[in-house]
């Protein structure tokens, strides 16, 4: 699946969708982060959401109208002229209809769901080389490491636009979930394990992110921003960080692991192997896939 597949589908659906969305896009619509995707992953998810809304409304609305009508028409008031038929309790035609309609709806929604499920496990775009960011959930902060740039940040994350980002998620602490609604859906960040999440931003901007899985007292403060900017600016930022920021030492990392709430931080370099060591902590999961993701061969 490449970029075109990701895009083409969204165009075909756009027509029917705009109608249903008009309510949300006006006025305070900006706030509905899930409906304001800025990249292909979020777009695919939004399209699926809209499709599912339309499909379920197609049966929910009739149900509610029918209920309204029936209760009104057959209520027990003196002189109600509506027919009363206390023994009528079978109709094969009707039953076939309402076993049938939901089956069709589930069939359609199911097909799209399966397709998108597989789609989202692949990088959104093949033309640009992906950037890898290693994300660690700590109590109660997010650490971002850039293995290719060798820099690190805490509680914010800069990414280039129009380039797939491979987030490798892990935790050194309770399990969390990494969620940047406008880029796309979340995935768990678990201790002793690496998970891959593909996201991409097509537009520059500052996007809200938050841990989504409860991690204890400081959880509510685990917000971070993802700052997307054009390639050149991103590279400039990397250069600047390399020259100006302090280094994240092993000791510094250990103090980050302690439970605390901190302000955003930037590091021009980090002690090598922090991410891997947290991942491969004694007796960790050593999953074959974890190691391949980190660019290592299997075995330990």
């Amino acid at each position: 699946m490449d970029k075109t597949t990701y895009r083409k589908r969204s165009r075909t659906r756009k027509l029917g969708i705009t109608a249903g969305l008009s309510l949300l896009t006006t006025g305070c619509g900006e706030r509905y982060l899930v409906f304001r995707p800025v990249g292909p992953v979020g777009q695919v998810e939004k399209d699926l959401i809209i499709l599912s809304i339309i499909l379920v409304l197609a049966v929910i609305i009739p149900v509610i109208l029918l209920l309204w009508r029936i209760v009104w028409r057959y209520r027990d008031v003196p002189g109600n002229p509506a027919p009363y038929d206390p023994e009528w309790s079978e109709s094969h035609v009707l039953e076939v209809i309402w076993w049938g309609i939901p089956i069709v709806i589930v069939g359609v929604l199911g097909a799209f769901t399966v397709r998108d499920t597989f789609l989202l496990t692949k990088p959104p775009e093949r033309t640009a080389a992906p950037l890898t960011v290693q994300v660690t959930s700590l109590n109660w902060k997010w650490l971002f490491q850039y293995p290719d740039q060798k820099i690190a940040t805490v509680n914010y994350c800069e990414i280039p636009t129009n380039r797939p980002i491979q987030f490798i998620l892990s935790a050194n602490g309770p399990m969390n979930s990494f969620w940047v609604p406008q880029l796309g859906g979340q995935e768990y960040a678990m201790p002793g394990m690496a998970m891959r999440l593909w996201l991409q931003a097509d537009r520059s901007g500052v996007y809200y992110g938050h841990g989504a899985n409860f991690t204890g007292r400081g959880f509510a403060h685990m917000a971070f921003n993802v700052i997307a900017r054009p390639r050149a600016e991103f590279d400039g930022w990397v250069q600047q960080v390399r020259h100006s920021a302090p280094v994240l030492t092993r000791v510094g990392y250990q103090s980050l692991v302690q439970s605390s709430i901190v302000e955003p931080m930037t590091f021009s370099a980090y002690a090598p192997g922090i991410f891997e060591s947290a991942l491969l902590k004694e007796g960790g999961m050593y999953m074959k896939r974890d190691l391949t993701m980190l660019g290592r061969s299997h075995g330990h």
């Binding site: 706030r31 509905y32 982060l33 899930v34 998810e45 959401i49 599912s52 409304l57 929910i60 149900v63 509610i64 209920l67 029936i70 209760v71 057959y74 027990d76 009363y84 038929d85 206390p86 023994e87 009528w88 309790s89 109709s91 039953e95 309402w98 076993w99 709806i105 589930v106 929604l109 799209f112 769901t113 399966v114 499920t117 597989f118 989202l120 109590n139 602490g173 309770p174 399990m175 979930s177 796309g184 859906g185 979340q186 995935e187 768990y188 678990m190 201790p191 841990g211 989504a212 899985n213 409860f214 204890g216 007292r217 959880f219 509510a220 917000a223 902590k281 004694e282 007796g283 960790g284």
Partner: protein
Amino acid sequence: MSTFLPHFPATFIVTGDPLIYGAEVSIVLATVGILFVLTYFKKWRWLWREWLTTVDHKKISVMYLIAALLMFFRGGVDAMLMRTQLIRPNMSFLQAEHYNQIFTTHGTIMILFMAMPFIFAMFNIAVPLQIGARDVAFPYLNAVSFWLFFFAALLFNLSFVVGGSPDAGWVSYPPLAGLEFDRGPGENFYLLSLQITGIGSIATGINFMATILKMRAPGMTLMRMPLFSWSVLASSILIIFAFPALTVALALLLIDRLAGAHFFTMFQGGNPMMYINLFWIWGHPEVYIVILPAFGIFSEVVSTFSGKRIFGYSSMVASLMTISVISYVLWVHHFFTMGAGPGVNSFFAVATMCVGIPTGVKVFNWLFTMYRGRIRLTVPMLWAIAFIPIFAIGGATGVMLAAAPADYQYHNSFFLIAHFHQVLIGGTVFGMLAGMYYWWPKMFGYMLNERLGRWAFWLFNSGFYVTFFPQYLLGLMGMTRRMYTYPANMGWNTLNFISTMGAYVMGIGFIVLVMDVVYSIRFGERDVTGDPWNGRTLEWSLPSPAPHYNFARIPTVTSRDAWWTSKQERSRSDAPRKLEPLQPIHMPKSSGRPFIMSAIFFIGGFGLVFNWYALGFLALLGVLVSMLLRSLEYDTDYYVPVEEIEQTEAALGRA
């Protein structure tokens, strides 16, 4: 013991917050008050003989109902506190620790100590009467189930004042709930009390399964059985097969915590994901365990108050059975975002959506039961009618959640919170309230007041929409669950405020409901006929409340809606019915052992919470001894003589 002894008083009695002091004082006062009243009015013997030792399903039902309402109140107060904290950004009404404890106890209490006893109250009052049985299959076991539940609830609620409440969410995922991040006893309270109540629930599942399959009155074939009993059968199947998974999940986490094992730790190869897996193997069926009986109640209520046969009976039965089997293979939809791979996610996503099909069939069949009926808008019927739109919408958002890639955006957000309150409140709670109003006269012999009932209904129902619809939007705005506070700049303020207001309206609705109960105890209209609603099933053939042996003569059933049919036949011909002569009735004896044994469970559980292994071991011994004593007991039942039956029946006006 070792870990807690040094700073024992400080960890043992929870301190440090006026709210908690207040609660502690009021709990102590309430206990002293109850003890005083019992002593003053010399009610101890009465309490013991009539209630604590009873094995009568009708009395057990009453006790379940009282417990469920109390727990509803406790969970509801938790909800009010949470909503108050979220009323505006950066509130400092509750600290993070307290907020975390409160949503954990709210979720746990509402599901395990409110919804479960509530459905069991309904099982107990209706099933034996509907199928024409004298009691459940195993009355003694039934009492054991109740007291295990009761003492487990006590243990869980105790954590509030002794030792500290659990605070890792009602799902209690490790490693957050493991020793590394949670040393306190709160988590142990959670694990042990759920374990104890879980045993009780399994026993109830077995009991009702055996009752329904083996104790039906002659002529009541399965396909003539009332739909509520069918729904209990479906729910019991799920209880029997799902609860053991909870038992295992909790036990393994407990072993991790107490014995230093490594099932779910981060070290030595432990795998926290396996807990999540096991928890939801139970957790998903659990939500159907609490919804299926509600479906059954709606079927009874809709058909009764439409004055019409249920539409599509066979489809209704088929859908119940399908739902109960399918719902066992959906559990992964609670962790689509764990990355189990697209194959796994696809399979479980589609399977989840499939559950909408049989559920939809039920919705349409209810609609068409009303169609061409005569709809009496009584309070139970109002709850049933209001259930349909709420549940349809809640189910529809469930189907939206089931689309795995879309769920990556909803998971753990307020969208999810809105979904499950919509099905849990609109489905289970509405169902149980409908059932409560419907069977109340059968349980107590008088009706609840309709006027107050309507007020409670309208307040609770409209409050519901105001509370939970804004939460869908909050979810789409990116608000995640379990945040004790949120920043002001996200645009979430207004919607949260509205939601809190709605919650207050629901709270007032609940208060009116309680007022209805209190008012009716005093002024409620007597039900002298035993059939106040013009009912269709056998429980309405009995006086209200039914005598302790239920049926003086076991009825012979010839059709569906057995009571309705026999009323019709009677109105057609006025030939006097021939009655078989009465026979002595075989009944189980009361026993204090269920109460004592469960109390021992409680003591052992309490000991283990604080790692006092000696106490835990002693309790285990006590449980074994009481089981042994039971096994050696042969004098467990007696016969009600014919004269006594005649007298009772005459006193009830049924010669």
